[in-house]
């Protein structure tokens, strides 16, 4: 029959035209003259309107009345939220995002697992939608050829399979000539925009034909419909279905953002954020125009074919055909074809990118089957994978069409897909606005939501067409009524979409939020969260550079690019990058952080961010992010605050340790200096008497005729100086022993009064020579008995007494010794009427070799070590030694020795 030839030629011509437009668009893009204007962008968004819109809206209107509008209200409301879309675009550009799977994976720490999961959900979720397109084209062909659909035909005689095959070949030719997915498919976008114009024109042509040709305009149709109560109902808002309206608006609002093809067109293919301003009104206007004639066509069809069993989904074709307007019918067929092809092309390209980057690549990168190290150029393999993925997706669509396609109207099938992609909403919105969302949370939410969707929507769609048993729907899984697939936990009375949407999002959001709150993000995750949520705040270039530290070689990175992009494309990109860095030849680039970023982004364009991350880290020796860098960037993430506190604590500890070390070092230096001073002083003290001894000896030796008196005087001095030397050496050794703790102590009961008496007696000659009066005030015998070394105490007493004698004036000197028991100690005072001590000297005299200023006149008798030694001794017995004095009023040296505790029990209790 002629019709089939006409249809074949028309279809081929139309597809050829699309191809030509795409080639033209690509050529212009390559020449740097993009044809993507704001209008083209806005029109390309209308890829949202598929054959579901073209045929299915009318069908839906015949049963659900105005509820078909919800599918367009949702997107209209969503696109008005420009800020959300701008944010998605900005993030995607800065992160070089290639798909929605890439977006989610990248946000949650470039997780391959998450990327794969999103891809699986997207593919399975969208397959019914592809089937819908096949079904629509197939049905429209049946109408044109006036055949009846025969689903029982084997597949090789099934025209739908042929359609799927043709679409696969066309999409492969169309969409996978280039490799880099972030290189926008400008030609494709242009062709899709053209598609949008064709389907709108075709639909409106049919609408005008029916409304003004078949009927007498809008008023006529509605007046005629008013005669039938069931048609009047279609034109009214049904308040009892408000819940369904709400859920359909919500689910379609999500779909405009998260369907893989919408994400592709709206975000990935966007060339200028400014284009959104046009899209904000042009896209809703487009939706309005394409819906104006839906109700007239629905009512017109019902009135015209009253009860003749014509499928309302085909009214757009059957109405013109029934009037013999074959040209218009052909145009309508083309419109439906364009709606279907546009959707299939963009959807399968987007999905094939995801399958290739997020499922196939990670597997290939790990498997031994493909030895990546030996392959110089992998771009061919990548293209092959994408082509295979396109064919596979269309095949799955066909399988679903055969399995479940007959059970549903067009709209019903589409909504199953919408509900599936709605599962991305929590992870997407959370990812863009909630920094605490974690990878584990996103995975949990997605898995749960997807599982619920599978159980409550996808499996029932198989069951309804008889492919699997209905028992899990009617009786519940394992016979548990609360597990009835479309009435979970007894929630009956909702339509299946609302029911599934409610439970899947309930599980999804609940687990996403709950698990996120319970888990902690890793460093990469947290930094990605910061970059996504605060994308407008950070200068991307600046943050990326200082987030990376490591070693890389240009050769290895270039080899990587050549392998995945192909040498030609890799060199082209390298040259462009080199010139942006103002380097003449890319071979002279240095492998700095920026270059690694560049390479990773180029790879991300080819194989997705998660796989790119793996590949780059395989050749780059990366250091873990420094905490301080992470801190700079992640100041708001909670675990970073914990890091920060930890760091601050560590830093404080370090500072404290440093200070302690510095202090210890100071002390050591001081001790070293003291030791040097001590040695220097000892040297001086030893050399001084030696000087006299040597000089005088030499003179005696050199001059035998020296007078006897001189001789005796010199020899006397020599003897005295020798004694001084001996005393000095003994005291130095004594002090050294005391200080090092090696002195020997003969500790026993000592009566201090007796020690004082004996000391005074031993110095009697000294007192007598200088005519010094000595008085003692001592307690009765046995009252001042302490545990000490008797000889050492004697040493202290003699030292103090001989000091006193030294300083009191000859003839008028007075020295008074008092011993008294006070509290738990014995207190000994040696008071003189000498010149006293200046306040500054009171401490100095206890230092080694430091004598009071006026001690110099009588130097040979003092070594400057007596008081330091005495203090060491007293302190050894647990007492103290100090001096109380005012200049001109004499000095009183005081020392204490504690009484043994068992002697003074009653004293202690009072």
């Amino acid at each position: 029959m002629n019709a089939s030839w006409v249809v074949a030629i028309l279809s081929t011509a139309y597809l050829g035209l699309l191809f030509a437009i795409a080639r033209f668009g690509d050529a212009r893009a390559d020449a740097g003259k993009s044809i993507i204007s704001a209008n083209v962008y806005a029109l390309s968004l209308a890829v949202y309107c598929t054959s579901w819109t073209f045929f299915g809206s009318v069908g839906r209107a015949t049963s659900g009345g105005l509820s078909f509008l919800t599918i367009y209200l949702g997107p209209t409301l969503m696109i008005l939220c420009v800020s959300i879309i701008v944010k998605m675009i900005r993030i995607s550009k800065s992160q070089r995002i290639t798909s929605i799977a890439d977006f989610i994976a990248s946000r949650y720490g470039k997780s391959q697992l998450l990327a794969g999961l999103v891809t699986v959900i997207a593919v399975i979720g969208v397959v019914p939608y592809i089937a819908l397109q096949l079904k629509a084209i197939s049905a429209s062909l049946d109408i044109i050829f006036q055949q009846t659909a025969a689903a029982s035909d084997p597949w090789w005689r099934d025209s739908t399979f042929a359609i799927a095959a043709v679409l696969a070949v066309f999409t492969i030719l169309f969409g996978t000539r280039h490799l880099d997915a972030t290189e926008r498919h400008e030609g494709m976008v242009a062709a899709i925009a053209f598609d949008s114009v064709v389907k709108l024109a075709a639909f409106m042509a049919v609408g005008i034909f029916v409304t003004y040709g078949l009927f007498g305009g809008f008023p006529d149709i509605f007046r005629q419909a008013a005669d039938f109560p069931e048609l009047t109902r279609l034109m009214a808002l049904d308040e009892t279905r408000a819940g369904t309206w709400a859920s359909l608006i919500l689910v379609s609002g999500f779909a405009i953002l998260f369907l893989p093809r919408q994400f592709q067109i709206m975000v990935v293919e966007n060339v200028d954020e400014g284009h959104l301003r046009r899209a904000v009104w042009l896209f809703p206007l487009y939706l309005l125009l394409i819906n104006v004639f839906v109700l007239p066509l629905a009512i017109g069809g019902l009135l015209h074919f009253d009860g003749r069993g014509v499928n309302p989904d085909t009214f757009v074709l059957t109405l013109p055909l029934s009037q013999g307007a074959e040209g218009l019918a052909a145009f309508a067929f083309l419109g439906g074809l364009s709606a279907a092809t546009g959707m299939v092309i963009v959807e399968t390209i987007a999905l094939s990118t995801m399958v290739c980057n997020d499922l196939a690549m990670p597997w290939l990168l790990r498997s031994q089957w493909l030895n990546l190290a030996e392959k110089k150029d992998l771009s061919g393999i990548l293209l092959g994978i994408r082509r295979g993925a396109i064919a596979l997706i269309l095949l799955l669509g066909y399988v679903y069409f055969r399995a479940a396609g007959e059970a549903y109207a067009l709209v019903g099938i589409g909504l199953i897909s919408f509900t599936a992609v709605a599962q991305f909403a929590p992870a997407m919105f959370g990812g863009m606005y909630w920094k605490a969302g974690t990878r584990v949370g996103a995975i949990s939410g997605l898995v749960a939501g997807f599982a619920v969707w599978l159980y409550t929507l996808l499996l029932p769609s198989f069951a309804k067409s008889g492919w699997i048993s209905r028992s899990f729907m009617d009786q519940g899984l394992w016979g548990w009524p609360w597990l009835k697939a479309q009435a979970l936990f007894g929630l009956a009375g909702l339509d299946e979409i609302t029911h599934s949407l409610f439970w899947s999002l309930f599980a999804n959001i609940g687990l996403y939020v709950g698990v996120s709150l319970l888990s902690r993000p890793g460093a990469v995750e947290a930094s990605q969260a910061e970059r996504f949520v605060d994308v407008f705040r950070y200068d991307q270039r600046a943050t990326e550079n200082h987030l990376w530290r490591g070693k890389a070689s240009v050769e290895e990175l270039v080899a990587l690019l050549e392998r995945f992009l192909g040498p030609g494309r890799a060199h082209q990109q390298l040259a462009a990058y080199a010139s942006s860095r103002k380097v003449g030849d890319w071979r002279r680039l240095s492998a700095d952080a920026q270059f690694v970023q560049f390479a990773e982004k180029q790879l991300a364009g080819a194989i997705g961010s998660a796989s790119a991350r793996v590949m780059v880290s395989s050749v780059v020796e990366e250091e873990a992010l420094g905490l301080d860098e992470v801190l700079d960037i992640l100041d708001e993430a909670s675990q970073v605050r914990a890091y920060s506190r930890e760091l601050e604590r560590k830093s404080r500890e370090l500072e404290a340790a440093t200070a302690e070390l510095r202090e210890a070092n100071e002390r050591l230096r001081e001790l070293d200096r003291l030791k040097d001073d001590f040695i220097s002083t000892v040297t001086h003290e030893l050399r001084t008497p030696l000087t006299s001894i040597r000089a005088l000896s030499e003179m005696l030796h050199d001059d035998p005729r020296l007078e006897l008196a001189e001789r005796m005087r010199f020899l006397g001095i020599i003897v005295a100086e020798t004694e001084r030397l001996t005393r000095l050496i003994n005291q130095i050794l004594d002090l050294a022993k005391l200080e090092s703790g090696q002195a020997e102590w003969m500790t026993g009961k000592v009566d201090i009064a007796e020690v004082v008496r004996e000391s005074v007696n031993s110095l009697e000659k000294l007192f007598h020579d200088k005519q010094v009066a000595v008085a003692t005030d001592l307690p009765e015998e046995g009252a001042a008995v302490v545990l000490a070394d008797r000889d050492r105490l004697m040493q202290v007493m003699i030292n103090l007494l001989s000091n006193a004698v030294k300083f009191v004036p000859a003839g008028e000197g007075e020295v008074r010794v008092t011993v008294r028991t006070e509290d738990a100690e014995v207190r000994v005072e040696v008071a003189d009427n000498g010149p006293g001590l200046a306040p500054g000297d009171r401490d100095v005299i206890f230092e080694k070799f430091r004598q009071g200023g006026n001690a110099l006149t009588d130097k040979p008798q003092g070594t400057g070590l007596g008081l330091p030694i005495s203090r060491q001794i007293v302190e050894y017995f647990g007492g103290r030694l100090w001096v109380e004095s005012q200049p001109g009023q004499g000095a009183t040296f005081v020392f204490t020795v504690p009484l043994p505790t068992r002697i003074t029990p009653e004293r202690k209790t009072t």
Binding site: R694, A695, L696
Partner: protein, 123 residues
């Protein structure tokens, strides 16, 4: 001519030795027991050479030497420093502030006399 020697030291026995030694060599001798007295005796006694101990009360030998060298009218005064501290740094310091010789204690009487003579005669 008879040279005049001023001995400045706070150790009585060393002063006795030096005084005896210098007088026996035929020099005219005066004694100071601390730094300030040394400066005063330089003015009153006008010695040709000063035997100057470093560790002295009131003013150290270094301070005395610096004060004397700061006065151009006393450029002809020879100074021989004596010290019981024999560190190299102190020898260097003594010479740097203008002492003609720096002798560490204990010294050889013959060497001291020879040094004093050679300094006096080279002037």
């Amino acid at each position: 001519m008879t040279y005049k020697i001023l001995i400045a030291d706070d150790e009585p026995n060393i002063v006795i030795s030096l005084e005896f030694l210098m007088k026996k060599e035929g020099f005219q001798v005066a004694v100071a027991n601390d730094g300030e007295e040394a400066l005063a005796k330089v003015d009153s006694f006008k010695p040709d050479l000063l035997l100057l101990d470093v560790m002295m009360p009131k003013k150290s030998g270094f301070e005395v030497c610096e004060a004397l060298r700061a006065d151009p009218s006393r450029a002809g005064l020879r100074i021989v420093m004596l010290t019981a501290k024999g560190r190299q740094t102190e020898v260097a310091k003594g010479l740097a502030i203008g002492a003609d010789a720096y002798i560490t204690k204990p010294f050889s009487t013959k060497e001291l006399v020879a040094k004093v003579r050679s300094i006096l005669e080279s002037a």
